[in-house]
Symmetry: C2
Subunit: 151 residues, 2 copies
Amino acid sequence: MKHEFKPADHTWEGIEPKGYKADNKSEGDGFRGVTKHVISGDRGEPCNFVVRYFEVEPGGYTRLERHEHIHSVTVVRGRGYAVVGSDVHPLRHLDHVYVAPMTLHQFVNDGPEPFGFMCIVDSPRDRGQKATPEEVAALERGAATTGKVRS
Amino acid sequence: MKHEFKPADHTWEGIEPKGYKADNKSEGDGFRGVTKHVISGDRGEPCNFVVRYFEVEPGGYTRLERHEHIHSVTVVRGRGYAVVGSDVHPLRHLDHVYVAPMTLHQFVNDGPEPFGFMCIVDSPRDRGQKATPEEVAALERGAATTGKVRS
């Protein structure tokens, strides 16, 4: 089974773009300009993982959150950065970032082009827990993270 | 944890390139010119999957084999094709191909550039079973697969 990539609109044949969270919106509580494609793992495949492609528009960001499950993230479009714990990682084409369990993380597009990455997770998995205002405030004071967190 | 991609040699900081199979060779019984990077999943991460990057040099091919576990494959370098069951799928940048359980499959680079793809699998998983000579002969007679299988 092949899903052909369509460069003109950066989508895949037979894969419907979705919003970022369960309500299927790309803007919401703590996130902005994020769409999702489920590349594999939601069509009854006998496997223990889901492969998603997230795209963050210029100025957009994913929600600052944590969860028990890990993220394995590889960039395939544009550039941006990730806040992971107290670190900030600039991310470009094919850079990989690992997000460990219960580590606050956020992906931000601070560039002029869409920022897209593959993100692989376990299936099933726990729901994300949004950072608290106190945690956001602490990151705003952090050596690497000052000015980097979005909400 | 970030593994920075190094475009000059198409490798990742902190990730050692390996051979294709357990004997760590890139040439062997039924395969040629294949290297592997384990992007995530072999460093004790608490997850049920492994993300690998395979690169097939021009003229190279993976082993024609089958196994119980699925493959979720997304192309990130060059082009080539996949034999999957009785089908042949041309593959270019970001094309995705799903390999179902117990389906014979082979990735072939018939182009002038390295052909590279991310391949995600369950962990743990079963070992590959090489196609039998009879199966190879049948594919050589197949409508789509004649002239496409390598060994």
